[in-house]
Subunit: 159 residues, 2 copies
DNA sequence: CGTTCACTGGGCAATATGACCAGTGCAGTG
DNA sequence: CACTGCACTGGTCATATTGCCCAGTGAACG
């Protein structure tokens, strides 16, 4: 569960240069190849590393508009709404939350006009009472994991 | 910019089985290896595929709590706030948005109690007027891209 | 003290990689 | 119509990497 310093270095190295391979990694980290391999296997079976899927940029796919929608759900309709939203490709992720809304989802669209279509698609479902949408203008900090990994490795080292 | 059907199949295949390699892909898709290689190169230089970084699960790292925070910023302090948030490892991403808040960020924490520490860290900064936080309970649709890629490939085919 | 465990450093065959090449079918252009 | 550029095919080649094996070492632990 907790990762040590070497694990941290492996993940960070992999995040920075995903294509380098186990052998090159072992060279850079100054450890035996088998060690890196064993660590990687462990990290993957631990679930710390879920996989190495391609990181696709929706903007480059023709979906440059991102928005977050907060949804209020009619009591007892949660499961239906989830199933509904799972069928909409423009819904990139969905969370159930505490707070003013019941759910929060990330949407993408081809344009601001197209966002209207997507929102209609999302909201035009019986169990959804109300939706409030925030359009993303800029993304100063793109989804990242390196700082957290470094901190987790540090915490482990200091304990 | 737009992707065709083969591009779509490459991305989906890669998303499902990231480790398979170009040769195996060409076998499965029934095209020559050089073709897959050329397509991949093109997708990467297009920016459609940003990379193949490891997908790290914060929960497995010891950060099982996720939250979204909506921030209101004092006029003109935007840049300072961004710089501040970029230094907090628990801030996994940050967006500037329209709507009631000025910014929206995704946070993780070691526990609900630890979330308080993270929020204090985030909010304890001069330019931030107010923050409202929604804790994630469940994640019915984890961040995904396959349905969108398939739709983008379809759209291209039909045009 | 003995055992277990992770790591080292090495060797092996099998495989994938990047780099080429000539040939082919197709779409668009003059 | 002929020409040209382009993407794809199917093949080769040398090189690098992979997955797998092994014995030996050092540290932690009961």
């Amino acid at each position: 569960m907790a990762i040590d310093h070497l694990d941290g270095r492996i993940i960070v190295l992999l995040a920075r240069e995903p294509r380098i391979g186990v052998l090159e990694m072992s060279r850079r980290l100054g450890v035996a190849r088998g060690t890196v391999q064993a660590r990687l296997d462990r990290l993957q079976s631990n679930g710390v590393i879920r996989g190495f899927g391609p990181q696709v940029d929706p903007a480059a796919l023709g979906y440059p508009v991102t928005a977050f929608a907060t949804l209020q759900i009619r009591q007892g309709q949660g499961a239906d709404v989830r199933a509904h939203l799972a069928t909409v490709p423009e819904v990139l992720e969905l969370h159930t939350t505490t707070g003013t809304g019941d759910m929060m989802c990330r949407l993408v669209a081809r344009s601001n006009a197209d966002l209207q279509r997507v929102i209609d698609l999302v909201v035009g479902f019986d169990g959804i009472v109300r939706a409030s949408t925030a359009i993303v203008m800029e993304n100063p900090v793109p989804l990242r994991i390196i700082p957290l990994v470094e901190q987790a490795a540090e915490d482990r080292a200091n304990s």
